[in-house]
Symmetry: C2
Subunit: 296 residues, 2 copies
């Protein structure tokens, strides 16, 4: 199957699953609208596809991983919603529509973001079939992988570094640290979660961790390239913000061409990691390739 078709199909499966399950009768209507607005529809749901594709390599059916992949997308959406707030990147657009705080107001931007994080974990913890499939030991490992990726040494820490290094002449190492913490940790995490469900062995987990890191760095570099080359209409969010906000990026240091080459070299390294594994992770390879070739 064509990888774009695979990713799109997953996104539709996910949206349907979220649509059906994100109903809480006792929650305020306006909050539920905001929560659903933040995660359903729009977005490529790449992290979900990474989780599903890893699971498939271990023979886990996509259907059985939807609540985990859905929870991961909710947690990812939490980070986008907070990142768009005026105090942060102050972006009015996301996924081709108003960002959540712009559509629902600033208080809701904070609260619906918080809710997406909390409900993301509850999304798979409340799925009794999923919890039965993975035992409690695996469930704890999955929770730890996700929380570690979000931690002060992961995504949240990376966000702070990203802001701290705005307008400075950060070097390549510092920038790659930001990319690793801010982005790559939460590209790694869905892969590791899929692998844990699939009972991957230690060697495979190490390889997938390395692959996830490299692919995550590629993801952020590609994002930075797109920020320069694509118009807002294509990105679905405001383009050209990195320069405007004086973000520390590889493009800023090396320019477009050199940065493209660094990304391609990281991709080849990621590919090489997969090639040396005994198991076939062809879908993962294809998704990584999509990540560096996408147009938005």
């Amino acid at each position: 199957m064509d990888i774009i078709q695979y990713i799109n199909e997953n996104a539709i499966l996910l949206d349907n699953h979220l649509e059906q399950r994100l109903i809480f009768p006792e929650a305020p209507t306006r909050l539920m609208e905001a929560l659903r607005y933040g995660v359903i529809g729009g977005g490529k749901k790449i992290r979900a596809s990474l989780c599903l594709a890893t699971g498939e390599a271990y023979g886990i059916k996509r259907e059985d991983l939807l609540s985990l992949a859905g929870g991961i997308e909710m947690i990812h959406s939490f980070s986008l919603v907070h990142d768009d707030l005026p105090e942060m990147d102050n972006d009015d657009y996301r996924r081709g529509k108003y960002s959540l705080h712009k559509a629902f107001g600033g208080a809701m931007g904070i609260l619906a973001g918080d809710a997406l994080l909390v409900e993301g974990f509850r999304f798979f913890l409340s799925d009794s079939q999923f919890c039965k499939m993975v035992n409690n030991t695996k469930l704890i490992r999955i929770l730890k992988v996700l929380l570690d990726a979000l931690s002060v040494e992961g995504m949240v820490g990376g966000q702070v570094l990203d802001i701290d290094l705005e307008g400075t002449d950060a070097d390549e190492d510092q920038i790659m640290d930001i990319y690793r913490m801010k982005t790559a940790r939460f590209i790694q995490a869905p892969i590791l979660c899929g692998a844990i469900v699939g009972s991957a062995n230690k060697k495979e987990l190490n390889d997938l961790e390395r692959f996830g890191l490299l692919t995550g760095q590629c993801f952020q570099i590609k994002d930075d390239l797109l920020d320069v080359t694509q118009p807002s209409g294509v990105l679905g969010k405001t383009a050209g913000k990195d320069i405007e906000q004086k973000k520390a990026t590889l493009v800023g240091i090396y320019g477009m061409n050199e940065t493209q080459k660094i990304m391609e070299s990281l991709f080849r390294e990621a590919e090489a990691v997969l090639n040396q594994t005994s198991r076939s992770f062809s879908l993962l390879r294809e998704i990584a390739h999509f990540i560096i070739t996408r147009h938005h």
Copy 2:
């Protein structure tokens, strides 16, 4: 022991424990400063005491519950930090010092809040001794209790209702719903967590759930009373905000005296629940009594 002394002693134990363990070498320094600012020092740490006191009723040593109680206080602090943000209650003071966003800036108010939530869970999940003491089944139950209390049908939902009902003529039922969701769920949760560690039976869990709900409602009513009667200097946060922000409160409907009576009647109900249990929860009773008689 005098209950105020017990609570103060716990707060000191907790602060020392947090002080020692909240060190992450790879996290940005400024984020760690903000994180520690948000939870160490100041605050009565009532929720931690509720958890520790419940554990003690089951013979669990305080020392063995510090990482759980510490995590709970971090999660509680997350809610305060976000609640103080300009989009929300817009408060410059908390616990007798600048609120976090006022001291560290708006972006950090959002990010350090997020970090307190994430690191709160990691705080006990990363304590191998604690995780060994409780098995994985209990650990999952504890995580679910905390996440449920924070959910769209819990604290976050209550925050949204609280904002939605500002300036309306909400009735007692609606207000008690806000109190239950916004406050009582996360007063219940630490009690239930302590009870789960202590292997409480179903009947005890039900009783403690009921006691926690009533005590949590008392807590919020007392907060509303103090908002009217005490000056900012005593509260450590800006007083008189409920009237200014047209919050829907019992005091607003019934006035001070009647509200005081409702609170006392809820406290007696909470006391009655404990009296009918076979186990002695005297510390819990004392903490609940402290909650309705405190001066700040």
